[in-house]
Symmetry: C2
Subunit: 352 residues, 2 copies
DNA sequence: CTGAAAGCGCTTACAG
DNA sequence: CTGAAAGCGCTTACAG
């Protein structure tokens, strides 16, 4: 086995071709346009020398000299390929990868930033490792607002997949229009004949949850219904049980909209245990498509989240930001969700 | 919005602390051990200066100076996050990611190398883009032997996930022991009472297919059965039909082992159409677990491929190669497969 | 104990 | 048309 060959450098090529490194660089990077004019025969010599030496530019050196390297970072606050919830990042990554491929960028996955507890950190002893890439796409549920804020303050270009708001520091993101989609779902439920529509969610206040709740209220208002605090049902964990359902029934509820996640199972279980037929006795709207769900054959009525598109748009946004010379403020894209017909919404048995 | 802040450099920190860049570098990188001795108060000043300026080292410059960058490349010959066959790379990536995380490396996904036809190339106009990373993990079905050979000749450190043989150029890989697992499966089928065991596969000659066929022959021999050319059934695409099955029955076959892929469905269909009970009339061994299959609840009897482990071991191997100063020849790891009991192997109805 | 200097391998104005 | 030079931001022997 031969020892590792000594890699040839630009200067080797230049020397062999009898030109300066500057000229070799120009030729090899095809910058011979406009004011720069190198005789074809000189160019030939450079190309021949490069070919003969098997020359390949050192991308790290190029990065340092040029100030950018064509790398797009991907940072997730949780392991990117989880074994348990394997579908979580997948659709986003499909979109990210395909956009990166189209635009000719490579992806840098930050996997080294483990904290040992399953979470990941952007800053490690003050160092922002993301800077290895020209900019980054961030994803994750358990994001750290502190780190995001530091990133914004540092002026590092990044796009979050999902709406994220930081008091006092605005960031760029691609998001799904949960509010609009939820309001539209309320419309559908209203049009099916329902007048008492409850909201069931978890006791958490992420941006996307807030959007859904806002959409719920807007949907009610829009249809001339009044928002009833008692119908807004936020439970810790997925603790929705028969008691809770009984209370809703007594309040005249004939339809519920439910956030995605384990809470859906809890609601279905409660219905089953109480012998409530879905959608006969209780219509059910789901506020997003569960992960891994094939939207075209979904049992649940609701809407699907454009996850791939969110990923792809994040890449486009980021690259646009990188190509701008000056900072134009945070960039945002809000994408519509697709209604999913499903079979869990029907007319109420008896109109209120 | 404030304009992007001017990033502070090491020299800024050094100046503010009243030391040379060299000293600042030493302190910041915690290289003050052994012969290097810097008074605590000086160190304090450096740290204070760095904190005050919000200094973050430029990883690109560090890479250039150090000669390596802590990046592990991941190159797939097909899109890494396929929409259709979404499970293909997934288990490997789980292993790769988790090993990279453990060992503190970041992953560089080469997504820019599209050829437009769904395939990807390592070399683009002579440039090996993989060199952005210190070394790379390669995966893929439709690998290009030419590119692999060029990579070996170039001395670029890489590990293939899956056995790959190149005449005249040896490469490093992690593989599953298909031969051993197949032979062991033949043992199980033999022990269930079968004496005429056919092999059904596709008309392709990948390394892993050859391994399985070799294992089949070894398994037969090992049990005192003779290899019968007629029982080796290699069909183009997944074209296994009733005619083919009929022929096997006439040859006295009571059990078949089948390569993974669409061919399994073809075999099952043929059985169904001919009203052959599995495993009553025909026992079935599957040579690997289909992608996305949960091995602990598999219907199919056979074995499962240690895909995650293959990915993780590839990372370990690669890093070992990178840390060696001299080249020690190709590194290889062959991992055992896990038997899967399943319910498609039973005693033949009538012993031959 | 710490600084000056060279070097990592490129690119990019700037001269001529 | 092309070269010499400076510079990208670090690290690492080498002196002292």
């Amino acid at each position: 086995m031969s020892a590792k060959k000594q890699r040839s450098r630009l200067s080797d090529v230049a020397q062999l071709a009898g030109v300066s490194p500057a000229t070799a660089s120009l030729v090899l990077n095809k910058r011979v346009t406009g004011n720069v004019r190198i005789p074809p025969e000189t160019q030939e010599r450079v190309f021949a020398a490069a070919a003969k030496l098997g020359y390949v530019a050192n991308p790290v050196a190029q990065s340092l000299a040029k100030g950018r390297n064509g790398l797009l970072g991907v940072f997730t606050f949780e392991a990117i390929f989880p074994i348990t919830q394997r579908d979580f990042y997948y659709p986003f990554l499909v979109g990210i990868e395909s956009a990166a491929e189209t635009l000719g960028y490579d992806l840098l996955l930050f996997t080294s930033a483990s904290t040992g507890d399953g979470r990941r950190r952007i800053y490690r002893n003050g160092q922002n490792r993301l800077r290895l890439a020209d900019g980054a796409i961030l994803l994750g549920i358990e994001d750290s607002k502190d780190e995001l804020r530091a990133l914004v303050e540092e002026g590092y270009p990044f796009v979050f997949v999902g709406r994220r708001e930081l008091p006092g520091a605005e960031l760029s993101y691609t998001a799904a229009d949960y509010a609009g989609a939820t309001a539209a779902l309320i419309d559908r439920i209203y049009n099916a004949g329902h007048r008492r529509i409850a909201y069931i969610g978890v006791d958490q206040h992420t941006e996307s949850a807030l959007d859904r709740r806002r959409g719920y209220q807007e949907g009610l208002l829009h249809n001339g219904l009044t928002f009833d605090e008692e119908l807004m049902c936020l439970v810790p964990d997925a603790r929705f049980d028969q008691t809770a359902m009984q209370k809703l029934l007594e309040l005249g509820v004939t339809a519920v909209v439910v956030e995605i996640g384990p809470i859906i199972s809890a609601v279905l279980n409660a219905c089953k245990e109480m012998a409530l037929d879905v959608p006969g006795d209780m219509s059910l709207g789901v506020l997003g498509n569960p992960f891994g769900d094939m939207e075209d054959m979904s049992y649940f009525s609701g809407f699907s989240i454009p996850r791939e598109e969110m990923g792809a748009q994040a890449v486009h946004l980021l690259i646009r930001m990188l190509n701008e010379n000056s900072f134009h403020g945070p960039q945002r894209v809000v994408l519509p969700c697709t209604p999913v017909t499903g079979s869990t919404i029907a007319a109420p048995r008896s109109r209120a």
